[in-house]
Every structure is written in C-alpha cells, then in structure tokens.
C-alpha cells in the first residue's frame, strides 16, 4: 500500500516536476485573484446605480456567469477561439474565464458588503464635503470589506482551488504536472503528493475561515 501510494523513489523523481507546477499554481493564483477582485469591485460599484437600464443587465450578467460552470467557459474559450482565427493560449483562456466567473462571485459578495453599510454614513460623509468617489473609497469600501471578509476569503480559497482547471487546457500547474509524472511512472504517488501540497498550502486558510464563520454565528 505504502509502496503504491507513497513510493519514496518516485517521490524523489516527481518532486522537482511538482515544484515547477506549484510555482505555476502560485503564479496563476497571484494573477487571477486580483483580476477577479477588480472585476468584482467594478460590478459591485455599478450595482449602486439606480437606473434600471444598468441594474437589470448587470444582475443578468452576474447570474449568467454564476450559472455557468467555469470549466465550460474555459473549454468554450480554448476550443472555440481557434475557429475565429484567435489562438488563445491556455493561460489567456484561464485568465479570461476566471475574470468572468470569479468576478461575478466577488461582485455579489462586495455588493452585499456595500449594502451592509448604513446609508446614513454616506449622507454624513457627503455632507462633510467628501465627493462621491471619496465617500466610496474612504468610508463605504473599508467597512464593506470588513463586513464580508469571511466570504471574500472563502471565495479566494475557491479561486485558488479552481486554478487546478488549468490542467485541462495544458497549463503546467500542480495537477497537470502530477498527472504527467503519474503517466510516466505508472504510479499514483505524484497525485497523492500534489494533493498533499494543496492541503498543506490551503489548510491554514480553511482553519482561519472555520474560526471566522463560527465567530460570525456566535455574534448573530
């Protein structure tokens, strides 16, 4: 059993390959998380606009991309783009798909955060002479982010886990590298190792989230 799932020889061989994959997973996360946050921020600020011509299409946009499995979006971009003469790389496809998908999720979370700040605060800030933009930046957003911090972190965890989809479009991230190593060695040890790396990397975040959630429940 140990020889099969935790073969030390294969472990030694696979480690450098997995390490390169881990580097790419981290790199990918560092790119897509801020990208998604940026998209979400724009969506959430637009959600404050009362005009129904902005409001309804925006809500449809968000629900559309929340209903769409990210893998379907990714495959659509990756397999579909060559047909219109665009050869998008796996990396570009992942970035676009994640921007659309996670942007919608971050947008919903930030919108809830912004709505949780009492309107009296906005009136007060405006009456002291702050502009609309200044009010958003200095008064509303800091409190909004604090109020929905557990949800933001939870979504970030999901986004980092989702980077494993990159393996489907041949991005050499952690899971892809593990599968390469596994198919060369005919042994599942690289996959076990990759799972272990994911777990070690993300466990602290899961623990933190669990505590934050419990505290939120205790307060309610």
């Amino acid at each position: 059993m140990l020889q099969t799932f935790f073969n030390l020889d294969i472990l030694r061989q696979a480690w450098p390959i997995l390490l390169a994959g881990l580097g790419n997973t981290v790199l990918l996360s560092v790119v897509v998380v801020p990208l998604g946050l940026l998209g979400g921020l724009v969506l959430s600020l637009l959600a404050g606009v009362r005009n129904p011509w902005v409001r309804w299409p925006l809500m449809a946009w968000v629900d559309f991309f929340r209903a769409f499995p990210p893998l379907v979006l990714l495959i659509f971009l990756y397999a579909g783009s060559p047909f219109i003469g665009l050869e998008l790389s796996g990396f570009t496809c992942v970035c676009i798909a994640f921007f659309l998908n996670t942007g919608a999720y971050y947008g919903e979370i930030l919108r809830a955060g912004i709505e949780s700040v009492p309107t009296g605060q906005i009136d007060a800030a405006r009456s002291t002479g702050l502009g609309r933009f200044q009010t958003s930046l200095y008064v509303v957003l800091p409190q909004a982010v604090r109020n929905v911090l557990p949800d933001l972190l939870s979504n970030t965890l999901e986004v980092i886990k989702l980077t494993s989809l990159g393996s489907v479009v041949a991005m050499p991230e952690l899971l892809f590298q593990a599968r390469q190593a596994q198919s060369v060695t005919y042994n599942p040890t690289p996959i076990v190792l990759a799972a272990l790396v994911y777990f070690v990397m993300l466990w602290p975040l899961v623990r933190l989230l669990s505590r934050l959630e419990n505290r939120a429940v205790a307060r309610a």
Binding site: R66, P69, F76, S164, I191, A194, A195, Y198, L202, A220
Partner: protein, 226 residues
C-alpha cells in the same frame, strides 16, 4: 459571406446543432442524474456528520473536523483524478461517473456539515435546557426543537453552496463521462465546428440559471426574517 454571417455559421451552425442535439440532450440526462446523486448523498452525509458532531465525543470530533477540512482544502478535480487514476492500482476501478459522484459528494458533505453545524450551534443553549427539562429526550430535542430552527437558517447558504458544487459535474468530462460537456467536446472534434459547445453552454444555462435565480430569491427573502 460577411463577418457576422461567418461568426453565426461557426458558433450557431443550424445543421451541426440539429445533428448533435440528441447527444447533448442525452448528456443533459447524465448531468441531471449525477447532480441529483451528488446532492442527495452529499447533503445526507453532511447532516449525518453534523448530528454526530453534536454528540460531543472529542476524539470523534477531531477526526471529523480533519476530514471536513481535508475536503474543503482539496480541489474537486484533484479528488476526481485521484479516485479515477489512483485507485485502479488497488484493483478497484471506479468508473468516471462513480469517481465524480464520490468526489463531489464528499466535497458537498464537508461544506454542508460546516453549514449544518453552524446552524445547530446558533440555537441558544437555553432552548436545549428548556426542552430537556420538559421531559424530551436528547433525540427528541434535536429533531423537534433544534433542527427545525437550525435548518431554516442554513437554507440560503446551503442552496448557494450546493449550486456551486453541482456545477462541478462538468469536471466529469475530464474522466470521460458523457455528460453535457463531454458530449459537446467530442461533437466539436467530430464535426470540426464549435456549435455543439454553444449548445452545451445553453444546456447548462437551462439547468443552472433558474437555480441561481432561486438562490438569489431565497437570500433576499430570508435576510430580514432571522
């Protein structure tokens, strides 16, 4: 042919779509089947774990929290790949369908256990004490007093999480299950036209868009009634 017509001919080719519509419809059936299995088993297992946790055996709970953390931290695709490619070395060869079902059900179990547990702990201790002092047993208190209130609280977060995890059925295409995405992908390579993907995307929207809208409605409805 203008650019627009060429675009339509590429992504919305009626001939190709008509040809592969039965395939996509069959894929939809598989997706629904897989999703239903994941939802029922995942939620049942999650509730069972939360109830087990409420009994308060420390060693059991430590193990339980570890299992929950494990399946919250691992990407679902990694679990699927492990079960599908890793277990056959043990003479067990789960099909792609079973691998995906098992993986997603474990993930949903972990997330729903957390939510159920949060719901149970949100019921004040005084209610437990009051119920027990009227002569209700532990089980009766749990079933008749605590759970009805706890479950109400958990419905909106549970719905959203369930939708998010159920969308993961598309991952089954990676392990050769002929669900919507798997069917659409093979149709694209057979017909050398991406229209089946458009059709597949439409099928996902038909299945999941109403669920997302329903989740949003639940959230707003329940927000002020806590």
């Amino acid at each position: 042919m203008g650019n627009w017509e060429r675009f339509l001919d590429t992504f919305f080719n009626p001939k190709v779509m008509a040809k592969y519509l039965p395939d996509i419809a069959y894929g939809m059936l598989i997706t629904v089947e897989l999703a239903a299995l994941v939802i029922v088993t995942g939620l049942a297992a999650g509730l069972a774990l939360a109830l087990l946790r409420s009994l308060g055996f420390r060693p059991v709970n430590l193990l339980l929290v570890f299992v929950v953390d494990l399946f919250r931290a691992l990407p679902p695709l990694v679990i699927i790949v492990f079960i599908y490619f890793g277990l056959p070395t043990l003479e067990l060869s789960p099909s792609g369908f079973v691998s995906t079902w098992l993986s997603l059900a474990l993930v949903l179990m972990a997330f729903s256990e957390e939510i159920f547990w949060a719901g149970i702990t949100s019921i004040p201790k005084g209610q437990w004490e009051a119920a027990r002092s009227t002569g209700l047993s532990y089980g009766q208190t749990l079933i008749n007093v605590v759970l009805p209130q706890a479950l109400r609280l958990t419905i909106p977060p549970l719905t959203n999480r369930t939708i998010a995890i159920t969308k993961g059925t598309a991952l089954a295409s990676v392990v050769a299950v002929s669900e919507i995405l798997g069917m659409a992908s093979s149709a694209v390579s057979n017909s050398y036209n991406p229209s089946p993907l458009t059709l597949g995307a439409g099928a996902y929207l038909v299945l999941f868009f109403p669920m997302v809208v329903f989740g949003r409605w639940l959230e707003t409805r329940m927000r002020w009634k806590r």
